[in-house]
Amino acid sequence: MIRILVLAAMGCVLLLPATAAQAQQQEGGEAIRGTIVQRPEEGDPVPVPGVDIAVTTGDGEDVGTVTTAEDGSYALELPGPGDYSATLVAETLPEDVQLTDPDRATLEFTIRPGQSRPLLYPLGEAESVGGRFAAFMSRALQLAVEGIKFGLIIAMTAVGLSLIFGTTGLVNFAHGELVTFGAIAAWIINVTFGVHFFLAAILAMGVGALAGGLLDRGLWAPLRRRGTGLIAMLVISIGLSILLRYSFLYFFGGRTRPYGQYAVQRAIEIGPIGIAPKDIIAIVLSLLVLVGVGLILQRTKIGKAMRAVADNRDLAESSGINVERVILFVWAFGAALATLGGVMLGLGEQVSWQMGFQLLLLMFAGVTLGGLGTAYGALLGSIVVGLFIQMSTLVISPELKNVGALLVLIFILLVRPQGILGQAERVG
């Protein structure tokens, strides 16, 4: 009772400068103003009195502190136009009230001459510690699912990159463009020719495999025959990457475009997480494809041959394996997988001319993490990268999520240079 009285008294006192400020505003003075209210889920907004807002200039100089009145309103006169920062002092909020976004306790803004600027501090009901933990966990779970989906896409594209490196020693900087090529091929089949998305994706894999095979036969195989050095080939792959990327831009344009089906889907709730049905299908399909890749590598003749060539090209050749044919297959196989990865990426984020290039670094990260040149390493490494990128947004700003992944890549190279699954090599 006494507290309320004191607050009311303070409100009266504070009303005076507020009115003064309003008066000045008409003369062209600069000010901030607003009302602090809590909006419950039902019912009218409730004003929150007695909340302190501290204002400093952009350079950190103190301007003053204003406290909200009985009706939740406040206003503070500012010394002039310029940059300011206003902080709602969270400790002065009642115990059952908190900012909906605690990161927005401090607002930075610019005041033009004569401007009286309203500030917004959305408030909500304070959650219990248990509730906050539950919210955190459900967000973590949600991110984990997204991370796995992203990791599987990286994995699908990285298997080819890794196998190509293993069998030919080429670090293929144009691998991202195979991803884009596949996604665009599927888009053309799907949207331009009106074929249903699923069929279009399968056809595009065929087109992608053909393109990969043609690249090997038309470009890389002749270069290998000429004895072109690995670094020269790496630079050629950079040239190819630029050539293809800008060709895509030239013909496909700079806009991002969605597929004809499944572009927008409502998420369904499963327990604490929400997920679109297309994402569930994408995850299940990726898992099936990657298990299939594993079986091909492990069980089939061509798969064993691929691993043998990746392991030791000379030994494989001397034991009667047709190495050039295996490499051709690796290119077709890798390109088909890159296509599928591109299609799935395009389904989630639309198709664009540099989607693959943006993925390239993450593919490198996955392949390096797993151990260069081992297909299983690439799978594992990519999933780790995908998971890490998404999960890191729990603690860091989403715009920096790739930075975190790249830093971890560098760190892992420091402590375990052969990658997670790679083995230490003999020197000399």
Binding site: V171, L223, G227, T228, G229, L230, I231, A232, L234, V235, I236, I238, G239, L240, S241, I242, L243, L244, R245, Y246, S247, L249, Y250, L361, F364, A365, T368, L372, S397, E399, L400, N402, V403, L406, L407, L409, I410, L413, L414, P417, G428
Partner: protein, 330 residues
Amino acid sequence: MNWEFILGRSLSSAIGSDAAVFALAAIGLNLHFGYTGLLNFGQVAFMALGAYGLSVTVATLGLSLWWGIPIGLALSVTLALLLGLPTLRLRADYLAIVTIAASEIVRFVARSVSMRGVTGGSFGLSGFADEFYAVNPIPGGSYGFGVVQFSARALWVIAVAWGLVAIISLMVYVLMHSPWGRVLRSIREDEDAARSLGKNVYSYKMQSLVLGGLFGTIGGFMYAISQQSVQPDTYSTPVTFYCYAIIILGGTARVLGPVLGSMIFWGLLSFTDTALRQAVGAGYIPTAIMDGTQVGQSRFVLLGLGLMLLMIFRPQGILGDRREIALDAH
């Protein structure tokens, strides 16, 4: 088609400040890749540190432009050490991946909202180069001949940038004709052999990485000054690739390779751009095939194609020695 205009524009680009900036960065990369065999795919990060070191010093910290130079150079050395310490003992491809990752980290961080107060976020910084132009000794007016014309300010930047190119090229010439340069080239050929002859390979690789990075940073200073603004997305991965195109065009492991390469690179880029634009404008190329925005894109298509063809058919570049390339069998 106004050929005088097209050739004039191409010549302006070939001797312009961009060509000098890329020559500086490419000289550094030539030291890494051409002489030492280091696969640095993050040269642009060193340029970015130069540009940001300078602009942040002036625009954010409010210090003099001349303070930005030691700050930028110190940042550059720090980055080289950070990159080199873990990776220079490992296989060559690891350095490639780590450097390309680092260059993206630098760009992501510079453009992030949380760094807005320092780097200006995705908008970047501007208005920091006044002190440089204040000491311009060239009296105002326009200089040049025919369509090749530069303002006094532009000429001042060009003179300083090419002056730096000349000094640094001379330095590289002396270094590469010294026992120090011999050790670097031996590391490029076979680092185990160099080690077996008592050379501390790790230390030399680090020296090469630091020095080449510093040249990139100096290029970054001049880039920021010539543009009078710094934007994070100017410093993305393709810039490094262009540097590779430049040294391969000019001839790797040639002192003047990057210089000649950069002039030809910018001259050709400007030539195709102006010529195509005029051809589209005059109706020689129907707009159904190519429109205004596609001109800019098509020259990058040609750039990629050119890089491939060059590497396949004339890997020694313009100044290179065919005999040397024939030996590059592995």
